[in-house]
């Protein structure tokens, strides 16, 4: 056993690292071939089956193919929203306070009943105005809506309290599965344990903690650009594999074809070395980021100089380059995803504390700030969760950077539940927090920045209250002129990350999906939530 392992070790030394990534296989010209079963890996079992009440992508990957949305992101261009069961893009009234959506009339639920405006109203009422005892974690995202009406069988109306910049895109939220009004009327919690949608795949059973199966819905309304009926696949099977390394093994041994969330660069290289002819890789920047969160209620982190120093000490540019070799972080950016529609320019970003390119000067400035604040040899506990990728390497990098300006940070790793308990109770000094969203949208990415005693309750773990910042966040949300909104978002970033240095990103994540190249018709986006209905995915014959 040992001898064998050592021989293997010796062999792998001689293996050459892969010279380049394999090109993605989303060539446009190919003709999609129908048939086959897609097997993919997902890392957990969904707690309930109800997309409206859960927040984990582990629900979306296996369950989303059973449902339609009102709007969805275009599988060919994931920055674009297209109609799903809607017939066309939404129409806003002149005062921007009524949004009307026309519906398709050819959509049928898996039980054969036709979809009407009542179903949309029941669905959105459940999401936006949940009755007592029904949970809707994203209700707040639709606070602008005052009522949902169904004036005709094929038309839905959303009444808004004030004009909103993000409302229309939010109708493409991947969580807003369209449910049947009749089923909800019978039991509002029907969908927690049952599946009955209008999506491209019907439910074909699941084994607890192990797999989830879907079967082609022959009555699906979707068609491809040549008029062929969707979906292409006959079936799909999601394998629940919680250990990341076992997930890689699943692809490596061809037990699964793809894992949609993503792997580390090393896992990608391992796979492409092991399966040189069978692997395709797609990569994309990711709307996920880690924050350093100093607890502003604890001394000396109530002092903005100390918080700035913590940020200044970290050379993000060198960190991105180094860490992107082994883990899933890469790009340097502010509160909005770098290179995304709301990102700051690099020159503007460089003016913010800790984002400049002169690392030595930044570190010197950090030391001076700490000395000025009276804590030249600051030491604290750095709270982190016990998940390897990417929390552990990011934290080790930070601790090492801080060490260079005389800060001693002790890595305080806790099991996720205990870590969250500390965050929520405010019983920590500095923490590594994280955030992931399905959309580049300031309303989502700034949610953590509202005052801790108001809208930021349970979200803002830096525990500051700042009415000025609240005002700015609220203003950008109501601003419907894109250019003006962009300026406001820039002001917020400068104020929150630099002037007050409340909490700040470390590095933005980078999504890498290596998969068997028989899988076609799936395109990577900047999040792992959308584009998962699998309608246009197909399998190449080999």
């Amino acid at each position: 056993m040992l001898v064998l392992a050592l021989v293997l070790a010796a062999c792998s030394q001689t293996a050459q690292p892969p010279t380049s990534s394999v090109a993605p296989s989303v060539a446009g010209g190919e003709k999609a071939a129908p048939g086959g079963t897609l097997t993919f890996v997902v890392n957990a079992e969904p707690p309930s089956f109800d997309g409206h009440r859960e927040t984990t992508f582990a629900l979306l990957h296996p369950v989303a193919p059973h449902y339609s949305l009102l709007y969805k992101f275009d599988p060919n261009d994931l920055t674009k929203v297209i109609p799903d069961v809607a017939a066309e893009m939404p129409q806003a009234s002149a005062d921007k306070l009524t949004v009307t959506v026309k519906l398709r009339t050819d959509v049928k639920f898996h039980d054969g009943t036709a979809l009407t405006a009542d179903d949309i109203k029941a669905t959105y009422d459940k999401i936006i105005f949940p009755p007592t005892g029904v949970l809707s974690p994203r209700a707040g995202a639709y606070a602008v809506v005052s009522a949902v009406n169904a004036p005709a069988k094929d038309s839905v109306e959303f009444k808004l309290k004030y004009p909103s910049a993000s409302f229309q895109t939010n109708l493409a939220s991947p969580w807003n599965f369209i449910y049947s009004a009749a089923k909800l009327k019978g039991d509002i919690k029907f969908y927690e344990k049952n599946i009955m949608g209008t999506g491209p795949f019907t439910y074909d059973g699941n084994t607890k903690g192990q797999d989830w199966k879907g079967k082609k819905n022959a009555d699906y309304f979707g068609k491809d650009k040549d008029g062929a009926k969707l979906p292409y696949l006959d079936a799909y099977k999601a394998l629940i594999i919680s250990d990341a390394n076992a997930g890689v093994t699943a692809i490596r041994s061809k037990q699964a074809m793809i894992e949609f969330r993503g792997f580390t660069p090393q896992q990608r290289d391992d796979l492409s070395r092991a399966l040189p002819n069978d692997l395709a890789i797609q990569e994309a920047p990711w709307i996920c980021v880690n924050y350093v969160v100093p607890n502003t209620t604890k001394k000396p982190f109530d002092d903005p100089r100390v918080r700035r120093a913590l940020s200044l000490a970290v050379d993000r540019w060198a960190g991105g380059e180094a860490l992107s070799k082994t883990t899933i972080v890469k790009d340097v950016g502010g509160l909005m995803r770098p290179k995304g529609p709301f990102a700051m320019s690099d020159t503007d970003l460089a003016k913010i504390a800790g984002f400049g390119k002169d690392a030595a000067a930044n570190k010197a400035a950090a030391k001076k700030l700490l000395a000025d604040a009276g804590v030249p040899s600051l030491s604290f506990k750095f709270l982190n969760r016990n998940i390897t990728t990417p929390y552990e390497p990011v934290a080790i990098y930070l601790i090492n950077e801080w060490k260079q300006v005389g800060i001693t940070a002790t890595h305080d790793v806790k099991e996720t539940s205990a870590y969250l308990a500390d965050l929520r109770a405010g019983t920590f000094e500095v923490a590594l927090d994280f955030n992931c969203d399905f959309l580049d949208e300031p309303d989502l990415q700034l949610a953590k920045f509202w005052s801790a005693n108001k809208a930021g309750k349970g979200l803002n773990f830096a525990y500051y209250d700042d009415t000025k910042l609240d005002g700015l966040i609220d203003a950008q949300s109501r601003e419907t002129d894109p250019a003006k909104r962009l300026t406001l978002v820039g002001d917020i970033q400068r104020y929150a990350m630099d002037e007050m240095a409340y909490q700040y990103p470390v590095l933005w994540w980078y999504r890498i999906v290596p998969y068997l190249n028989t899988v076609r018709g799936w395109k990577i986006g900047s999040n792992h939530y959308t584009n998962q209905d699998l309608a246009t995915v197909w399998l190449a014959k080999k």
């Binding site: 392992a5 927040t55 949970l135 927690e192 076992a246 699943a250 399966l275 996720t416 308990a421 992931c436």
Partner: protein, 311 residues
């Protein structure tokens, strides 16, 4: 005998109380965890905690739980909302089958090797067998598992199936999935039983009646098989049954390495989720298995060994 049976009750009640207290003392909250990493406002969290009854006073939760246990109702998982019994049942076939295969592997390896080591005491054969067996105790089973997967992957690009197939559906796929983990844990397990076999056989070989048998000129192998082995089996049965009780639910790390959807993983997930009803029920169930197996072992002793009597 009835007395011993009754003694199980305070133990299990103690386990129940301890589990309840320990889990509530541990920080963390299933609702916060469920919405981890997403911008879910505090009032939604509070609302769900209320729905799950987590905001009720501790004593009330305890009394409710004890009352339902008394009605043999193990409650529902807070995470999935399914009955605890369903959750446990779904994982049982895998855990039991793995325990059986590992036991078979261990016993088939342990008894012959243990006997040989005893018969050839203090020769190089004995030393080699003992080194092999201590190796089984020294190498972490999960590491053996990792190394085995590394070898099969590198040499043949093969890994054991990562999902469980019931044995009646497809015996080949079923065994392919369980054989490596069974060897990984079975090796350790065999080491324990091998040592037990060796020392008991050694002891028996020194007994008078074995000496007599030898003196009568019976063939060595016959003496060993007929006398020594039969008597030596008793303590081996003990180790085997206690280990078996442990194997169900105790293979947390190995299950993780091989992505086995077993009882151990369910328990660890339940603890990580702070899924109180599921944890409490599982701990009490596992403790019951342990206590009952212990009891059965004791009874077997009484039956097999007339020298032991229980008042």
């Amino acid at each position: 005998m009835v007395g011993r049976l009754l003694l199980m009750i305070p133990t299990l009640v103690g386990v129940a109380v301890l589990t309840f207290v320990i889990m509530r003392a541990v920080p963390g909250d299933i609702v916060a965890l469920r919405y981890a990493g997403s911008s879910v406002p505090q009032d939604v969290i509070d609302q769900e905690r209320h729905l799950l009854g987590l905001d009720r006073p501790m004593w009330e939760q305890f009394v409710t739980w004890m009352a339902s246990i008394a009605r043999l109702d193990l409650g529902q998982s807070l995470w999935t909302g399914n009955p605890v019994v369903e959750e446990v049942q779904a994982r049982m076939p895998l855990s039991i089958e793995l325990a059986i295969i590992a036991t078979l592997f261990a016993v088939l390896l342990a008894i012959p090797l243990g006997v040989v080591a005893a018969v050839k005491q203090d020769t190089w054969i004995d030393y080699a067998i003992r080194v092999f067996s201590i190796g089984g105790l020294a190498m972490p089973s999960f590491w053996i598992g990792i190394m085995m997967v590394l070898v099969t992957l590198t040499l043949w690009g093969w890994a054991p199936p990562l999902t469980f197939t019931p044995i009646f559906e497809d015996p080949v796929a079923n065994l392919a999935g369980l054989i490596l983990p069974a060897i990984a844990v079975g090796y350790r397990y065999s080491a324990v039983s091998m040592r037990m076999t060796r020392s008991t056989v050694l002891e028996v070989l020194r007994e008078d009646y074995v000496r007599t048998a030898r003196a009568k000129g019976l063939r060595e192998s016959l003496v060993v098989v007929r006398h020594a082995l039969r008597n030596a089996l008793l303590p081996v049965v003990t180790v085997v049954s206690l280990e078996f009780a442990f194997l169900i639910g105790g293979l947390v790390v190995t299950e993780q390495v091989f992505n086995l959807n077993g009882i151990g993983k369910l328990l660890v997930d339940a603890v990580a989720h702070r899924d109180y009803p599921l944890i409490q029920a599982m701990v009490v169930l596992l403790a019951s298995v342990f206590v009952i197996v212990n009891f059965i072992v004791d009874m077997v002793y009484v039956v097999l060994d007339p020298r032991i009597r229980y008042a």
